[in-house]
Amino acid sequence: MIKQISLFAENKPGRLASVSDKFKGAGINIRAFTIAEAGDFGIIRMVVDDPDLAHKVLHDSGFTVSETNVLGVEMEDVPGQLGMIAEVLGEKDINIDYAYAFVTRTEKAFLIVRVSDIRGAVKVLGDAKIKLLDMSDVQNI
């Protein structure tokens, strides 16, 4: 399992710069990143090398921030991989709340996914021999 940093941000100029600036000051590196935008506000979701520190830095700066458990799924960077993972989860009635993906310098791609049933998802993905990332993998990317 991976700890994701989620942050409430108003949809206005400069907010992202401010987050990034706080991370720079604390030496935190962002591994994966996405913004879900919903009109007046957005939710910034990030996988970073040190989530506890990131949470503290942002919270102390007055941001509304939380740590959320999500899954990091390792995929081969070839067509059909994403569909296969979605199918495994779908068969067990596990819903994907949201997902985002990134590729690395190797042939692997990573999918970050929040699901309705995280324990169930870990089990079915494991049964399907799909590799899940933990925090040490994130730090080594």
Binding site: F8, A9, E10, R15, D40, F41, G62, F63, T64, T68
Partner: protein, 434 residues
Amino acid sequence: MIEYWNPQIERMPVEELKDIQGEKLCNLVKYVYEHSPFYRKRFDDAGIRPEDIKSLDDVTKLPFTYKKDLRDTYPTGMFCVPNNKLVRFHVSSGTTGKPTVVGYTDNDIKAWTTSLARAMTSIGVGRDDIMQIGYGYGLFTGGLGMHYGAEETGCTVLPASSGNTDRQIELMQDLGTTVIGCTPSYFLFMIEAAKSAGISFQDDTDLRVGVFGAEPWSEEMRKRIEESAGIKAYDIFGTSELSGPLFTECREQKGIHIWADQFLVEVIDPGTGEPVPNGERGELVITTLVKEALPLIRYRIGDITVLNWDECECGRTHPRIMRVLGRADDMLIVRGINVFPGQVESVLMKIPEVGEHFMIIVDRINELDLMKVQIEMTDVGFSDKVNDIINLEKKVASALKGVLNIAVKVELVEHGSLPRSMGKAKKVIDNRKL
């Protein structure tokens, strides 16, 4: 600790109090007719002679006085005494327009001090207490008014004034402050500031009582303050035109006692000017019975409240006004419906997922009023799923609609993004060109 500052007056039977009021009213009318060209003309225009006022019931024959009158006669056109009888000026903040000037004779200051000494005693504050006064000192009446009242009771006063929050918290701990007086919004700001410095008012200070006023606040906000700071929170009421802060709730917390030997209270229908029955909501009208420099006859304060002459459990016979529900001035009319910022506040206080800081923004788009309420997101309410936040906005909007009877757009904003205030909090931005 004493129970009453002046038991003989505070527990006087209502009939005797009303006799005193009648007598003082008749004298007042003669006094202002003789000493104030403004009132003489006002009475003459209304066809009233001082001798027409023979009893308390005749008060309704008298014309009203308005804030506008004070502005029109700026600075001292309504005063009844020459400068050499004045010992002090205060000047109102002008939150709702041009400032107004209030003058005090020595007796006016003494009466003001007495009023507050009675009030402070009624909440159990006295010589064993250390009171930190976080109301502004200076032209504003809050700081100096509370200061004199608290000192009169024998209480030790720390004249901290407003602002400089870190220092306030430090002094509170170092000197062992037991009572704080400031605006409720500033106190919430102090709680937040203390919390971020790792200080709990409940565990790390001797604070036991708060006296909050100068802006309307709700019963829910009281609960939140009392629980988070571990204190008893009391409402204080008064306006600069009447002298300044004058009256508080007693320990029963069931309304603010208005000293009837000093002030005559009426509650009227703001539309017709007729008195409303005991216990019904209306606009507060006050006549000053003992002021010398700037007496006010049937002054339309503009606060909406309920008057209650029933005897209080504290044993005081003086009437109570129920906590002020808002100012007629603060009232917004949105799509023809009356909205008080205080109503919005009480709804938000019942929803733990959102913070107590809010801003009402009213626009008129295509001839239609649109009311938006911005509210700060809290850690409690935050979910990283967009739908959860949209549902929270909907939940708040529907709670607001249930109370206000109009559709409201709710917008959650970042924590700390709405203005905090050291004095009166601004809760409304009205962009309509009416």
